[in-house]
Subunit: 330 residues, 2 copies
């Protein structure tokens, strides 16, 4: 048992969570062996069943707040009581720190997670719960390490990228490169994030939220959502290295898993309004998986971002999946 | 009668079409009086009923080829026999030459068309047929000059922009500005056009047309549609001044017409898959128009661009509209 886990299993009153870093050499699929640092966080007693919880490309190892790490996590709304009785493992994505400027794919991320599990002495996950990019990594992990998870929950992710979504991402990356070439990296990254946001949301949400009228200001027209988008883009650009965005965005387009290679019980969640991962692609995935599959198709005006914005509906799906897993283990 | 029209009414064997330029001062809504040059083209005998035919922001006065101007027009496929027995009037958009760097809106374009009609001695159009931006201008023209057209045909355009489409355009303009600030205007404009193209098309078309697999080339991934998009963007950027794109894109977001101000018989065409001008907005327009309305809702994998890509279906709608107009005049 590693020092990190020993610390976690003998918690002080405040140590309801712990974090660590793991430097190692990983054999990457496209780039060969590379020195990387893997960053993980455990929330809850690691003697409980462990669930890995992984989000989109902008998510990190901090899934939800704890006494030890009180800042809000990326899935704070979801963590309220969904994960009671379980220990939550999060990781920072390989490449998220911006130091790895090479092609990374979802199979590399799966390998990174397996290395973290080895390090922490976790032989098997009770569940792998992945959203968006995390769902793709979950599929890669399940196909490569079927003995290391009892159940896969893949939310808003499929076995392959959709060609339209890939085009959208390719143009976002070109906007970043345009900025970089011209010494305006932050501006380019902010714009790319705003373009990505449009693909995460829906016209229905915008119609409810923003007026159709533009305002003329300083001789140029500005539409009602521009300030909101700009603020979101700038905030993202402040906290994200451009290389991380480029390599993780690209990683989605390099993703490919054969559904027939998934041989663990799987729960899939799709959103009818998702413009990035069409429900038909998730249906095709469900049809191909070589194990028990439960597919939940939900509706939400938030489209792809429903995995962040619909905690109650997601909680119901997670409860069904986790109960099924607990029952199978009982 | 102007010299230009006299020329057209006494054609030499080759003069089945004529073009002209009209310099004048126009009182623009947002910028006040401005010196502009209006460019028009007439195709066919101007003693026949005249139909104005206006397209998207990248269309021009050359609707279709003629003996006089044999190059392909922007609506070549449509013009085969749809406009037999009629004279087609096209104009270049105000601002299309890039010399007018000020806010322009669809009411300004309607005023420009009225000035061209005055110049050519055309008291009344048999029909105004507008697609996309042309449809918006048609609505503005019909609301301001109801006595100057017998029928409006508005294809893939509504009385107001959709907030989601406005956000999409606002980000495209920001990409152009990013390029301009950094001495990479052509690159920024090309990228903006490619982003616009995504909004004109559909995921269904991309799924049929492009593979989901990305290829790694020079250390970066490229998706299957990237070369096609890049070529289209570069071609557009070569022929379009950045200022023209910025001001015409903005003009869409400044567009607003009250449906109740439309008091001429109107045919509306909407496409179910249009992601830029949702069919619901065109239904709302249809419900508000204060005259006879016929709404055609068509399906096409080309989305908004169906106005260019579905000539047979469009021809059927145009035939119904033009027959109705001819009958009303008989």
């Amino acid at each position: 048992m590693s020092a990190a886990l020993a610390y976690a299993t003998h918690p002080s009153p405040a140590a309801d969570a712990c974090r660590g870093e793991l430097p190692l050499t990983l054999p990457l699929r496209h780039a060969g062996p590379r020195s990387v640092v893997l960053r993980w966080e455990l929330r809850g007693d690691p003697n409980l069943p462990v669930v890995a919880v992984l989000g989109g490309i902008s998510a990190d190892r901090h899934v939800a707040s704890s006494a030890a790490f009180p800042e809000r996590g990326w899935w704070e709304a979801q963590a309220a009581d969904t994960f009671d009785g379980r220990c939550v493992l999060g990781i920072d994505w390989l490449g998220a720190d911006g130091t790895l400027d090479t092609a990374i794919d979802t199979h590399d991320q799966a390998l990174a997670l397996a290395a973290v599990l080895d390090h922490l002495g976790i032989a098997r996950l009770a569940a792998f719960i992945g959203c968006s990019y995390g769902a793709m990594v979950g599929l890669a992990f399940a196909s490569a390490h079927p003995h290391r998870l009892s159940r896969l929950v893949a939310i808003a992710g499929a076995h392959r990228p959709h060609p339209f979504a890939s085009a959208w991402r390719a143009l976002q990356r070109q906007v970043v490169v345009l900025g970089q070439l011209q010494c305006a990296e932050t501006q380019g990254l902010s714009l790319a994030r705003q373009l990505a946001l449009l693909s995460y949301r829906t016209p229905e949400e915008f119609a409810q939220r923003f007026d159709a009228d533009a305002t003329l200001d300083g001789g140029a027209a500005h539409c009602a959502s521009e300030a909101w988008l700009g603020e979101r883009g700038a905030s993202y650009a402040r906290r994200t290295p451009a290389t991380a965005f480029l390599r993780l965005s690209e990683s989605i387009d390099l993703h490919r898993v054969s559904p027939g290679d998934i041989r663990v019980p799987t729960s899939l969640v799709a959103f009818e309004e998702d413009r990035l991962v069409p429900v038909d692609d998730i249906r095709a995935l469900a049809a191909g998986i070589a194990a028990t599959v439960r597919l939940h198709v939900l509706r939400s005006p938030y489209g792809h971002d429903a995995f962040l914005k619909e905690p109650a509906a997601i909680a119901r799906c997670l409860r069904i999946a986790l109960d099924a897993e607990a029952e199978a283990c009982a």
